[in-house]
């Protein structure tokens, strides 16, 4: 069995830091007392007040996404630096840490997933709520049939000025916020309508039924995506909004910012 422990030792040799993605209190204390650099904890909540903590807005099912987000956040907070080699312990199957990944932190890691949440105009919690609504919608569809939906989050004033109504706005004079308990059902009903949902920085649903009219020049999104994605991607280039798009054809949830595709999630994984 000597070769097996050699293998794990090679993984953790000369690392500059440790990142725990599925921390248990025992782990944290154990490693915390090991040397003066306490491990970075990346999780949805911080149950034992880890000093160096990056909050996960979503339970990224894909370990790669999770690690990318965590390391980007850690870089942003200055917990790790470019060129550091870190070991990440994460849970791939189940809830207990079962995976050890050795990663070299470099600028290429900056995919913008962290900035999508933490540095958008809208509150991170609002973006998370919209993601949850989109994922829910993608999972269940409208009466079993797949639906598509387009949400623009943040910078609502500019988005409203760069779009026009397709019909009467069902949310006029209402005070509905994403994250309100009734909203999921409501959005599911309204997803039958064509056009985009416009959501403000604080999460207020400003309008549905909007036809977005951005200029689509210089938008860099993969070929093969339809008009909905193109509109969503383009509006994020013209404004500071984030667009979250649920595709009707392949059922994936995609997030656009600054005219580019930032994140792709499969609702079936959540």
């Amino acid at each position: 069995m000597g070769s097996l422990s050699d293998l794990s030792e090679a993984l953790v040799a000369d690392i500059d830091g440790l990142v725990l993605f599925s921390p248990s209190s025992g782990h944290h204390q154990q490693f915390g007392s090991l040397d003066d650099d306490t491990p970075v904890v990346v999780a949805t909540e911080n149950p034992f007040d880890a000093e160096r903590f990056v909050e996960l807005p979503l339970e990224f099912d894909d370990v790669q996404d999770r690690i990318r987000y965590g390391l980007e956040g850690a870089m942003e907070h200055g917990f790790v630096e470019e060129g550091d080699v870190v070991a990440c312990s994460a849970a791939t199957f189940g809830d207990n840490p079962d995976t050890l990944v050795r990663v070299r932190v470099d600028e290429g890691m900056r995919s913008g997933v962290y900035a999508l949440f933490a540095e958008s105009r809208a509150d991170p919690s609002v973006i998370r709520d919209v993601f949850e609504v989109a994922i829910e919608l993608g999972k269940k569809g409208q009466k079993g049939k797949p639906v598509g939906a387009l949400f623009t989050v943040g910078d609502a004033g500019k988005v409203m000025n760069k779009s026009r109504p397709l019909s009467y706005n069902p949310f006029e004079k209402s005070h509905v916020h994403v994250g309100d308990p009734i909203v999921n059902v409501m959005l599911k009903e309204f997803s039958r309508l064509d056009g985009a949902f416009v959501i403000s920085d604080s999460g207020k649903i400003v309008s549905a039924y909007r036809y977005l009219e951005p200029s689509a020049e210089g938008v860099d999104i993969p070929k093969g995506l339809g008009a909905r994605h193109m509109a969503g991607g383009a509006i994020t280039r013209d404004t500071n909004a984030t667009a979250i798009v649920l595709s009707e054809s392949d059922g994936l949830v995609r997030a656009f910012k600054g005219g580019g595709l930032i994140l792709e999630l499969d609702p079936e994984d959540y």
């Binding site: 609502a156 004033g157 988005v159 409203m160 000025n161 920085d201 604080s202 207020k204 400003v206």
Partner: protein, 263 residues
Amino acid sequence: MYQFTADAVRRVLTGVSTRLWLAGAVFVAGVVVAVSVGRLTAGALRRLGAPEAIEGTAFDRTTRRFDTTAVGIVSRIVTYGSVVVAGFAALSVAGTRAATQFWTRVAEFLPSVFVALLILLVGLIVGDKIELVVAERLKGVKLPQTGIIPTAIKYSVFYVAVLVALSQVGVQTLSLVVLLAAYVVAVVVVSVVAFHTLLTSAAAGVYLLLNQPYVIGDQVRIAGHRGIVQEVDLLVTHVESDDEEYILPNALVFREGVVRVRT
């Protein structure tokens, strides 16, 4: 010998007037009622969830140290109060001699003492509980100075409880009431002065949210600040121009008026 004791018993029995027998019966019945009333009180308090409600208060901790609970103390006060009342009822039934003028006054006075005690107890518990709740609420605000607010509220509640209890017993409390009034006026004046802009903004915000004279996306000019409305909430309106974002209190929106710019 046997004959003699039987005679003695008979003499005692006949010697004691029916009135005394009646008084004894009244007292015994009173004690029974008192005990059951105490039990009922404890049961009702428990069913209302009183032990959970006061859990963690200083009073609760103190009573625990004496191996009892707040519910136990309240029910005991109720029981003893009822027993004393029963005793006086029995005395008045027994005869006029026992119930002299002094004792009548004591009898009239005692219930209010018990009520005052109960009020004091409730005041203590409520004050403690409010302190806990407010402290819990303020936990999110990471500012050490907020620690004084729960304490101030606690002692205000204590003060009012003491005041009510004292007036229940009949002590002259006018000066204390004046003090309380001065305190309340001071608090009100300070908060009105301090929160004046917030309150006017909130009142204006309610109108803006209900009637929506302008909505997100409109071009407006408020007090010389021109831009697109980005957000309207209870206290402020966010207006954004090309490179500046103005956060304007709603009171200002009302005072200066809004210009909606048609494009």
